[in-house]
Symmetry: none
Subunit: 227 residues, 2 copies
Amino acid sequence: MKTNPIEIVIIEDEEDILELVEYHLQKAGYETMGFLSTQNVEQFLEEENPSLMIVDRNLPECEGSEFVAELRRYGCNIPVIFLTAKDRDEDIEEGFVRGGDDYITKPFKPKELVLRVQALLRRSGITSNEKIKYRDLILDIPNRTLTIENNLVELTNLEFKLLHTFIKNPNITLDRDFLRDEIWGEDGANFNDKTINVTINRLKKKIDPTGEKEYFIPVWGVGYKLG
Amino acid sequence: MKTNPIEIVIIEDEEDILELVEYHLQKAGYETMGFLSTQNVEQFLEEENPSLMIVDRNLPECEGSEFVAELRRYGCNIPVIFLTAKDRDEDIEEGFVRGGDDYITKPFKPKELVLRVQALLRRSGITSNEKIKYRDLILDIPNRTLTIENNLVELTNLEFKLLHTFIKNPNITLDRDFLRDEIWGEDGANFNDKTINVTINRLKKKIDPTGEKEYFIPVWGVGYKLG
DNA sequence: ATAAGTTGATAACAAATTGATAACAAATAT
DNA sequence: ATATTTGTTATCAATTTGTTATCAACTTAT
């Protein structure tokens, strides 16, 4: 089973530094997503829900701390570390006031950056990414939402549980007994076989109305597999 | 505005510095408790439950970071900021590895210390002297008031707790079990499911009488989410 | 290859579950 | 004691889930 690494966004307009930061964070086991400006970041946050952001302040178009302040205003609570050359007392104050959780001045020690990232993640109660992806499906567990190509797809509780089970076991055939135990519980005294078919079908229709993507592959006489 | 202040423990063997730190934190509205060594601190933690600790490392008898590591081993999760002259890379690493949340080296700027204290408290969910905003809701924690577009909205105690819980977890589906534990307490032997519905509904009506803003989104069979 | 039997897909319907809301009762605070 | 807050219950509405019937697809035996 593939584990979902923690994803960190870095906004930094100097490419050398961006690469340096990404290198060290990746070495520490994190997944990174770099941006050279604040452009497109907002959209990315909505889609991916990363766990932490490292933000430079001297950015083209939009100043980094103002960007963060704006996010905070809209209820975005992602942990933020400023990584910037702005090292005057007033700058640092501004960074914290505008919603930063930590403030590192350049030049910086990569190791300390990683340590501070770890400490902040720990304190924020983030242990692993809360999103599970499979092909173009993004399942957000705490949100209980499914996103397909930027579209929110409403799922019922049963459908969510079912899809979750399949995405946790991709490419593995789940037989009907397993599904019954896992989704419906062990009390299957009188359990209609066709219930599974119907539920899978309803789910199929919701996530792939045209049926062209063939997420669920029936395995005759056994069950289904997510392919 | 009477609110029980946040209490901060400072462990620092140089009396001058201890006084300086206490002075600035008190000026920022915190209650402080200073110690010249780690002695008696453990007992104090159990009795008083302070919100944060500022710890020097070069202390008589017991080294500061070892003391924190020991606390962590026993499950103590209090936010810790190290404030120390030990500024080598290995020292800083040790500080974080042993459970510190932040690391400030001497000489330090008092203002930055206060900012870092505030940031860490905020991230730790200790909000007592903060305002939390979400969309057009402004929740004033110490005053226990809610303002919507400059209008004061009266909330009962229960409603305030409920809204506070949701605003702390925006966009996250809070299930009924969680809400019951969080708001009503663990003694849910006989707890009427519908109590949550009714309370949410009363809150909805107060903060959005016309229902057009759709703050609370029901998640079928699970709970609610603030959206 | 074809027929019979089995299994899956699908639609329509029925049942069960869950949420909203109002009215009332109990508890708590002032 | 009175007002306010909070919990309970009943009713209704919405949604979800299960059942059944019918048809299509697949497997296997002849």
